[in-house]
């Protein structure tokens, strides 16, 4: 009779391994958690871009760009390709500047890159690109696990946040079954659960209807986190502290939202006249 060991070997191996390894697993090392102080204590109250050069695909995007703010709610506007997306990616270390330095509350985004995910939360335009787990609760729990909670505790935290939001029933729902607005809400919650000090949102509302925008905006405003929001819908900047207009890698205008929007709209009108 032919040998059929190939099949039984798998489960058998798991039996042996189970007993052997459960003995060892107590000795598995967990990474040591360290706390770091900001590299630039004098900048600890603000977000700071200092003389940054950045090149993208053979052309200079930023040359000697400098920008600093400590307002809680700041907006960023500009045409497509103006450098907004690159600018915000500098702020959590996804992109490193070629020259100059970027710091968030005094922490260097390059030299202290390892702590950026705990400091800066990032919401992307398309929620389908950032949800990495099959169900809502897993998606939320991930952030807590990243911050060192055990799997059970992380799930408990996730369920608590869902309950607080009145959406407990979403917990085990597959993320593919959520509407666009629900998906973006889950994305925002899954970042807020990590309690970042700066929350960056890169056109998070572009595919959402007005009521959903307002719901999510309220969600963001209810935190004490600093917010940097990119949006093409200027109505969301109503109660923002400051608005920055970027154009071709330069700061074109910077100030109160009303004024900046007015000058932006004026320039768009001029442009259409010259067309």
């Amino acid at each position: 009779m032919p040998d059929k060991c190939g099949y039984t070997f798998g489960p058998l191996f798991s039996l042996v391994a189970n007993t052997a390894v459960s003995w060892f697993s107590g000795k598995q090392k967990t990474p040591v958690l360290t706390h770091q102080a900001p590299l630039y204590p004098s900048l600890a109250d603000s977000i700071c871009i200092e003389q940054v050069d950045l090149q993208r695909a053979d052309n200079h995007l930023f040359q000697q760009l400098s920008l600093r703010w400590n307002e809680t709610r700041v907006g960023l506007i500009g045409n497509n390709g103006s450098g907004k997306s690159s600018l915000v990616r500098l702020l959590n270390g996804l992109i490193a500047p070629e020259q100059g330095r970027v710091s968030v509350f005094g922490y260097d985004t390059v030299k202290q890159a390892a702590l950026m995910p705990a400091l800066v939360g990032f919401i992307f335009q398309n929620p389908d690109h950032q949800m990495i787990f099959p169900t809502v609760a897993e998606e939320l729990a991930f952030g807590c696990e990243q911050l060192g909670q055990s799997a059970q505790k992380a799930r408990a935290s996730a369920l608590a946040l869902l309950a607080e939001q009145g959406i407990e029933s979403w917990a085990d729902r597959p993320v593919t079954q959520l509407s666009e607005g629900q998906k973006q809400r889950v994305c925002i919650l899954s970042v807020l659960i990590m309690k970042p000090r700066l929350l960056i949102l890169d056109e998070p509302f572009s595919s959402l209807d007005l009521p959903t925008r307002h719901l999510l905006l309220a969600l963001i405003h209810n935190t004490d986190t600093h917010v940097l929001l990119i949006s093409h819908d200027f109505s969301v900047y109503g109660d923002f502290d400051r608005l920055i207009w970027v154009d071709e890698g330069q700061i074109k205008a910077d100030g109160l939202p009303d004024e900046v929007i007015r000058s932006y709209l004026a320039s768009v009108d001029n442009l259409s006249v010259s067309l």
Binding site: P2, D3, G6, Y7, G10
Partner: protein
């Protein structure tokens, strides 16, 4: 960044292989009425597109998720049962097929892409795969070696067509996204 990228690439390519298997429309009817699916095409492409190591890991991940209970093998098969079936050798051989395809691509760096991909797919996706599949069948079915070999001979023409298609696909993808294939 690099580590995360690699992880995501491996996982998403495994998802591509799953997508290929879930679509019955890709069945290629051949002699004997044995349906051939695009799934083995997926292994060849894993080796070509990701290279040997990531290709191997990606297909291994796919097999693991199938074993955990996802019905992602062509025809909606999945679960531990597939490891008790006559095709267990093929399933175990899947990652190695991708590995060898990737290794061959590296060896054939200086040959033109179409030819390199075709040869690599035949060596990895057919010869290596059958080297696992036939002994697997012998072990599981009490057929002797030549019997098992004859029983699966009907798949060969379809597999050669698939190797050709894999090479054509690799060529088109490289044209659309230059630099995307690791050995080029």
């Amino acid at each position: 960044m690099n580590k995360d990228r690699t992880l995501v690439q491996i996982a998403l390519y495994a998802a591509v292989i799953a997508a290929l298997g879930l679509l019955p429309k890709f069945n290629i009817p051949v002699a004997g009425g044995v349906p051939l699916t695009a799934q083995t095409l997926g292994l060849m492409l894993a080796g070509i597109m990701l290279g040997p190591v990531r290709g191997f890991l990606s297909v291994a991940l796919f097999i693991l998720v199938v074993a955990l209970g996802a019905p992602l093998l062509a025809g909606g098969r999945g679960g531990l049962g597939v490891f008790a079936g006559p095709t267990v050798g093929f399933i175990v051989g899947f990652p190695f097929a991708a590995l060898v395809t990737g290794l061959m691509m590296q060896q054939l760096k200086n040959v033109n892409l179409f030819a390199a991909a075709l040869i690599s797919s035949i060596v990895g996706g057919i010869i290596v795969l059958y080297a696992f599949g036939i002994p697997g069948m012998v072990a599981m079915t009490s057929l002797d070696f030549s019997g098992a070999a004859k029983a699966i001979l009907v798949f060969i023409p379809g597999d050669i067509i698939k190797a050709l298609i894999a090479a054509l696909i690799a060529q088109s993808v490289l044209r659309a996204m230059p630099g995307i294939i690791p050995s080029r």
